[in-house]
């Protein structure tokens, strides 16, 4: 189970812009293990979404290398839950969720059955035939989540998938995500979040990134037992590790804000 799934070596990303090059990522070294739930936290603008897009193969790295080990030729390698949702305005909830399956050529009755099942898991059955412009931000986010999970990829790449949800729904969805993850068995997950609580609650490890340009500052293993529920937030171990990470990260957030003040 500890075979590497994704290996990043000296990875860097530069965006060329008319105002000059933007260093988004610098010297990222990281191994994500097969079946691991890895969380990444970092201040806004530190390059998390950039990193996720490189992992997804959407962007190309500027330097260094990335190795992804594919295990199953019949399954998609990765599916992304985008921070911007990126669900299709011209498709209903159900058709959005079935999109990946449709592109892969899964026959209609099968893909609709699968899509329905995931639609129910994210609580959107009443909205099956609604278009995205009739859904709230949190609902759209759940459509995006269901679309990724229904696609059954080897690696799930999630960019703040619960960012638009209220606290209650978010907690429900966290438990649901863990449950589906454990049910589906062995998916590798890279999960980006702003919330330390969320990272500790979900992750096997938490990666902290530095403020812009993004580097890896530290990696914290989370040795809390699974399966986890919200009850875990009441334990002393949880409180301890969350505190350690909070202090580690707050340094970076301060730095990021100081930099922004300098720039403005």
């Amino acid at each position: 189970m500890t075979a590497p799934k994704i290996e990043l070596r000296g990875l860097g990303k530069i965006y060329p812009t008319p105002q000059g090059d933007v260093d988004a990522l610098v010297d990222i070294n990281l191994t994500v293990n097969d079946g691991e739930f890895l969380c990444i936290v970092g201040p806004s603008g530190c390059g998390k979404s950039t990193l996720l897009r490189i992992l997804a193969g959407i962007y190309e790295e500027t330097s260094g290398e990335i190795i992804v080990h594919k295990a199953d030729i019949d399954r998609p390698l990765n599916s992304v839950v985008f921070q911007e949702y990126a669900i299709f305005p011209w498709r209903t909830t159900l058709d959005n969720i079935a999109f990946g399956l449709e592109m892969r050529g899964v026959p209609k009755p099968n893909r609709m059955a699968i899509a329905r099942a995931y639609m129910e898991k994210v609580g959107l059955t009443r909205f099956a035939d609604n278009y995205p412009n009739q859904l709230s931000g949190g609902m759209k986010q759940r459509v995006a989540l269901a679309r990724a999970m229904a696609n059954d990829p080897e690696i799930l790449l999630m960019d703040e998938p619960f960012g638009a949800l209220d606290a209650q729904t978010r907690e429900v969805m966290q438990e649901e995500l863990l449950r589906i993850w454990e049910e589906d068995g062995g998916k590798t997950v890279v999960y980006i979040t702003h919330s330390i609580d969320e990272a500790v609650m979900l992750g096997d490890r938490v990666v902290i990134m530095t403020a812009h340009p993004g580097r890896i500052k530290s990696i914290h293993p989370i040795d809390l037992p699974r399966p986890r529920t919200q009850q875990i937030r009441g334990t002393a171990e949880y409180a301890h590790i969350a505190q350690v990470i909070r202090e580690d990260l707050s340094e970076e957030v301060d730095k990021a804000q100081a930099m922004e003040r300098l720039e403005s």
């Binding site: 998609p76 992304v80 985008f82 299709f88 305005p89 999109f99 898991k121 009443r126 412009n133």
Partner: protein, 289 residues
């Protein structure tokens, strides 16, 4: 853990219920506005009739609506000097509009998609379009007459050129404005080439395509009428122009009414097709107060 889905489901149902009471209220509001729009033309006609009958306006220039309709009924039954009934003129103009429209918009649509999607195609065609687009298309009519002679072709081609540019430009703009995250998502979920085109690029561009089609139909009508002023013995434009020459004001108004009706028919027809093809965009209009 079945409760998680249920909790969310319950909240969702609550939202829908609130939505539905609001919907019935919206329904009556809608009906009221529809009624207003329905009676407004009749109110206008009534005022017109009264103002002319009381001779506040000169009936020579502004014949009362009832007289105009009487004239129209005559025109439907009795052929004019050229042997055409009113419906013949309409059919002839319609044919020119529709053939020109199709001949222009179909290539415009295809080239617009290519220009929007392929940078190389865009780089090649941009200067050509920038140079030719500002030419008022009606000014090409004499050239078309030289090339194609006095027959139908010259008019149809002029209409086609105008429609071609409008559809091309709005289609190309629509493609370049597609949210690139949607393309990234589509590709991440396995959409390639033809699927990416039919399932993402085309639906994403459809609203812009329809804007182009609407503009293009309006212009087509305008150009056909203008072309018919100049060198024909048939069509609505001819009807209006020849009536002016003999000061048959009522016939002129008949022509104007037909043109207005055609414009209205085209616009609302396209709108209907658009709403059918793009049900996801349907809520936008009803959201205004």
């Amino acid at each position: 853990m079945a409760t998680t889905g249920e909790t969310l489901q319950a909240t969702a149902e609550e939202v829908i219920r609130k939505h539905e009471t609001k919907r019935t209220r919206l329904f009556y509001k809608d009906a009221f506005y529809k009624l207003l729009s329905l009676i407004s033309p009749f109110v206008l006609l009534a005022i017109w009739e009264i103002v002319v009958r009381t001779e506040i306006l000169n009936p020579i220039f502004f014949p009362p609506p009832t007289e105009i309709f009487k004239t129209m009924i005559e025109m439907v039954q009795e052929p004019d000097a050229g042997g055409f009934l009113l419906q013949d003129h309409i059919a002839i103009s319609l044919r020119r509009v529709i053939l020109g429209f199709l001949l222009g918009t179909i290539p415009g649509l295809i080239l617009g998609l290519l220009i929007g999607w392929f940078r190389s195609v865009r780089a090649f065609f941009d200067p050509i379009i920038a140079a030719t687009y500002p030419i008022p298309k009606i000014s090409l009519l004499p050239l078309m007459l030289v090339i194609f002679g006095f027959g139908e072709t010259s008019k149809i081609v002029t209409v086609a050129i105008a429609g071609f540019f409008l559809v091309l430009i709005s289609t190309a703009a629509g493609v370049t404005q597609i949210d690139h995250v949607l393309i990234q998502a589509a590709e991440n979920y396995g959409a390639k080439r033809s699927k990416l085109f039919t399932k993402v690029i085309l639906p994403a561009t459809l609203p812009s395509i329809f804007t182009g089609l609407r503009l293009s139909l309006g212009i087509s009508l305008l150009i056909v009428v203008a072309a018919e002023f100049i060198n024909t013995n048939s069509g609505i434009g001819f009807l209006i122009w020849s009536s002016w020459q003999v000061l048959a004001v009522k016939k002129m108004y008949a022509g104007l009414i037909v043109i207005a009706a055609l414009g209205l028919f085209f616009t609302s027809g396209l709108e209907r097709i658009g709403r059918f093809l793009m049900p996801w965009a349907g809520d936008i209009q009803s959201r205004t107060k």
